[in-house]
Each structure stands twice: as C-alpha cells, then as structure tokens.
Amino acid sequence: MNAYLDFEKPVAQLEARIADLRSSAQSDQVDISAELARLEQKSAALLETTYSSLTPWQKTQVARHPKRPHFRDYVQYGFADFMPLGGDRLYGDDEAIMGGFAKLDGRRVMLIGHEKGHDTESRLRHNFGMGKPEGYRKAIRLMELAGRFGLPVVTLVDTSGAFPGVEAEERGQAEAIARSTEACLALPVPIISVIVGEGGSGGAVALAASNRVLMLEHAVYSVISPEGCASILWRTAEKASEAAQAMKVTSSDLLSLGVIDGVVPEPVGGAHRDPETAADRLTSRISEELAQFDGRTSKEIVAQREERFLNMAR
C-alpha cells in the first residue's frame, strides 16, 4: 500500500483502477490483459512526468515522505556487516544519529547518519532524526576514531534540523554542532556525504563539511525549513512553497550553485518506490567518489576539503 502525496492524486487514481481490475480479473472470465497493460503504461508515464517536473515544495514533501528510505534501509540494502557503535562517553547515546563500522563494496568505512524512524515507536526512539548534543558528540568521537585507523567516513544526512529543546541548549547544542563541523574538516581521511532526505540547516552541515557532498535527486538542503523562512520573511508559514522556490533547495539548484558535487538519480516515482535500487545507486556512487581519494595523502585530502569550502560562496 502506497502513501500518496497530494500531487500524486492522478497516479493514485490510476493505480487504484489497476488494482480493482486485477482483483476482478480473478473472478471474471473476460480477458482484460490488454486494458491492464494500457493502464499500467499510462500510469508509469504519468508517474515519470510528474516526478520529472516537481516543484521545490513538492520535492520537500517527497524528501519528507513517511515511506522514504532512511539510514537503516540504506544500511540493509547498500552496506555489509554494519556494527553500530554507541555513546558520546560524556552524557548518553542519541539514536537520532547512528554510526558504526560497515563495509561498502568490500571497503571498510565508518558510516554515520541521521535516522528518523519508520513508525511511531521508532520515530520517538530516534527523535524523528533530530540530533541532540550527545548525537553530534558521538559523531565526533566516531570520526576521530576513523581518522586514527585510516577508515574513510561516509555520512548520510537526513534531518529536519538539530533538536530545538531546553535540554539540548543546556548541554550545548551549538557547541556540539560547531565541533562536529570542525571534526569533519580535521579528518585525515576522505569523508563523503550524501543528503538522502532533508538537509536541515546546522544539524545537517555538522555531518557534511566533507570532501564530496552529493544529493539524492529529490532530496532538499537548506539553511532553514521553507515553513520557517516563510513565517519570518512572509509572516506566514503558508507561503512555504514560495520560500522553497526562493531559497533554492533542490539538488539541481545546489549543483548549479556549486554547493554539491553530484546528484544521484532516484528510481522513477522517488526512492520510496524502490529503496533497493535507490540504495544500489547511492552506494555505487559513494564507492566511485571514495576511489578518487585512493593514494592521496592526508595533507592533500585536508587541503582539498578546505579549498572546497573557502572557494565556495565567494
């Protein structure tokens, strides 16, 4: 059962008709295969055109889709032997940010990323992917560990933002984010980041001050949520669609602004329609990017990363 977004209504109607036809075909004797094929083709074409011209606001909805694959799905389909590691050794373990050893096409890496959860129970446990200071401090710990043992770092970014709460402020949310960004920049090994869903502000960049930053086709990456931007500049969150357009939040926008290095195409209709293919494409692209750093010295790796950010946005 698919969860449809508003703009997918025509597709939803067609897919419902196809399902009806299928179930009636089992009882009736009439041959409906021709009609079925026609509808399926029509539906596939409609899905493709819909997804080839999504507005920034529609992409934001796709990036937040309840069925969108998250960290655990990419771990399951794209990485082998994931060994989760826990805790910041200071306060606690924040499950909004996961991390651990993993293998990517046989290569040993440190894998870190936000996890939003997929049902009520897991969403609460992962705090909807909104990291707290202990989450960012765990990421720092794991990055430093990876640096010492020569393991490249891969981060999967998917957060609406760092958690806005009293305890998070009390424990130094801002400092944790700043230090995490610094830890990315200090790594003597390559770090490759992919925005797989939402790249929400400081909570995202803290894991993405990287040698290469990629985005999934329908992911979004922005300094503030479109609703937040709209409520400040337009004085109403209802202008979120305009804000998304104006802020340039899509993968193609960010590629042309030079903020990201590449876009990983999603299966037709979004990653949620085929998480396995999405994970395949994601991991093979990360492998290609990592291979480019083979044989490079840590000095070269750090320098490339620093230049990337110094030259950007000048």
Binding site: A174, R179, G202, I224, M247
Partner: protein, 282 residues
C-alpha cells in the same frame, strides 16, 4: 522574537542625535528614561539595571582597540546570488541597510593593538540586517583571520546575529564550515582566537565560529543559543526556565568562560592576551 522585530526594537539607538526626540532613551529592559548622552557615555549600558544595549561596529572597535587601528576593507562577494525576493527584493533590503549603516555589510574587522598587544578584532553588527551571516559576513570573518595569521597575532571576534541570512539560502549555511576552516588554521598556527558573545548571538553563528574560541566571553544578559525560543516553546509546549539562553545561564552550563561587563571588556582581553602569546605553529 525574530531578528526583524529585534531590529525594529533596536531602532531608537540608530536615530539622529540632538533632536528633542532623541534626548531621552528608554531602557528596553527596565523602561527607565535615560539621558541619551549619559547612556552613550556609559557605553550604552543602563546605569539603573545594567542592561547592555547593542552598539555598532565602529563604537565597538573604538572601545576595544587602542587608537590608530586600521579598518580592513570589506571584501567583495557575489551579490544576491539567488535573485531572492520575498515581500521585497533582497537587493532592496541591502540598499536600505547600507543607507542606515556606515558599512557595506554586517561584519567589520580592524587590525591594531589592545593595550599594546597586537590583535585583529572583528565585529558583527546587529544593526545591519540583524547581523545575519551571509557570504559577505563569512568572507569578512575569513579575511580578519587571514590578517591575524599574517601578523601572527590574536583574533578577537565580537558576535551578534539573529542567525543566517536567509536571502542567501544554502550559501549562508556554507559560511559555517568556511569560517571553521579559518578557526582551525588559527589553532594550527598557534594563535589565540577569542570570542566575545553579545546580544543576541543565535542560530548558525553560534553553531560555528562563536562556539569555537579558545576563550568565550559573554556580555551580561546577552541572549545566546542555537534554537529560537519560540521554536523551542512550540516543540516542548512548556515554560522556558528563568534566564534561559542568557549569558549567565551559558556560564552556569559551562559554555562560556566568563561574563564580563562592557566597561571591563578591554582590560579583560588585555589580561588574557598576556597569557595567550602566539605559540609555535603545530
């Protein structure tokens, strides 16, 4: 309260002097009517309640540096790269901000000495579009750091910002790692980097160069935090604790080394610099 309302509230301090309307200044904290001249002579600190008012870049530089300092030119950056427009064009907002401010953007740096110890001081001015961090702020921050590296001296940065400059979208967010490249270089070069947090310092500025100092000093009562108070209230739906996100609260929670009255600020910096002599590069 977002930076727009804050900017409006700050307006009484930006008006022309010596007109009858501006002879008196109402303290925003205790509402006391103060003689503007006295208030300004007291460094815009309320003598009644010790409220530390917001001051612009030029006054701040004059307050911290010895006479004869050199103001660095503000670097050129791409202007309005997103062709951003909300209810008004971004270029229009920039034009207005420039008309009301002696500087081209919200970050101004100067090189000189603090009680005869060489230092570069960078100041973020809340009066310029809420001090918001865009490409010009990020680049000016980096230029100040480069100057400190060149002179092998301390870098002191006075922060004030409602957050990132939304009109520059993702490019404003990219200033966070960019500035962090430079704070790392200062560290590697063995140079001290001191942050003075003033009212307000929030959002992406706090979550990058404002929290990466060797020493963090805060002005009394300054609002300092990552998330906005309204956002937090909407999330947790309960009352915020007393003094939440104020300088003293951050001091209590270990995020700043000291809370220092504006009158003592220069002396404190000079005392610190005596201990933080440029070391050998790492």
């Amino acid at each position: 309260m977002n930076w727009l309302t804050r900017a409006r509230n700050a307006l009484p301090f930006l008006g022309k002097r010596d007109t009858p309307d501006n002879l008196w200044t109402k303290c925003p904290a205790c509402q006391e009517m103060l003689f503007t001249k006295d208030y300004e002579e007291n460094l815009s600190v309320c003598p009644k309640c010790d409220y530390h008012g917001r001051i612009g870049a030029d006054r701040r530089l004059a307050l911290l540096l010895d006479e004869g300092y050199e103001v660095l030119s503000q670097p050129d950056v791409r202007e309005d790269p997103l062709k951003f427009r909300d209810t008004k064009k971004y270029t229009e907002r920039l034009k207005q901000a420039r008309a009301a401010n002696p500087h081209r953007d919200a970050f101004t740096a100067a090189a000189g000495t603090i009680d005869n110890r060489p230092a570069v001081v960078g100041v973020q001015d809340f009066g310029f579009m809420g001090g918001s961090m865009g490409m010009a702020v990020g680049e000016a921050f980096c230029k100040g750091a480069e100057e400190a590296l060149k002179r092998r001296c301390a870098y002191v940065v006075v922060t004030a910002a409602g957050g990132a400059r939304m009109q520059e979208g993702i490019l404003s967010l990219m200033q966070m790692p960019k500035a962090t490249v430079m704070t790392r270089r200062l560290k590697e070069a063995g140079l001290p980097y001191i942050v003075v947090l003033t009212d307000p310092t929030t959002g992406g500025v706090t979550a990058s160069y404002a929290m990466l100092g060797d020493i963090h000093i805060a002005e009394p009562g300054a609002l300092i935090g990552f998330a906005g108070q309204r956002v937090i209230q909407d999330t947790i739906r309960e009352q915020l604790p007393d003094g939440f996100q104020r300088a003293e609260y951050l001091h209590r929670h270990g995020m700043v080394d000291m809370v220092v009255d504006r009158h003592e600020l220069k002396g404190t910096l000079a005392d610190l610099l005596e201990y933080l002599e440029p070391a050998e590069a790492a």
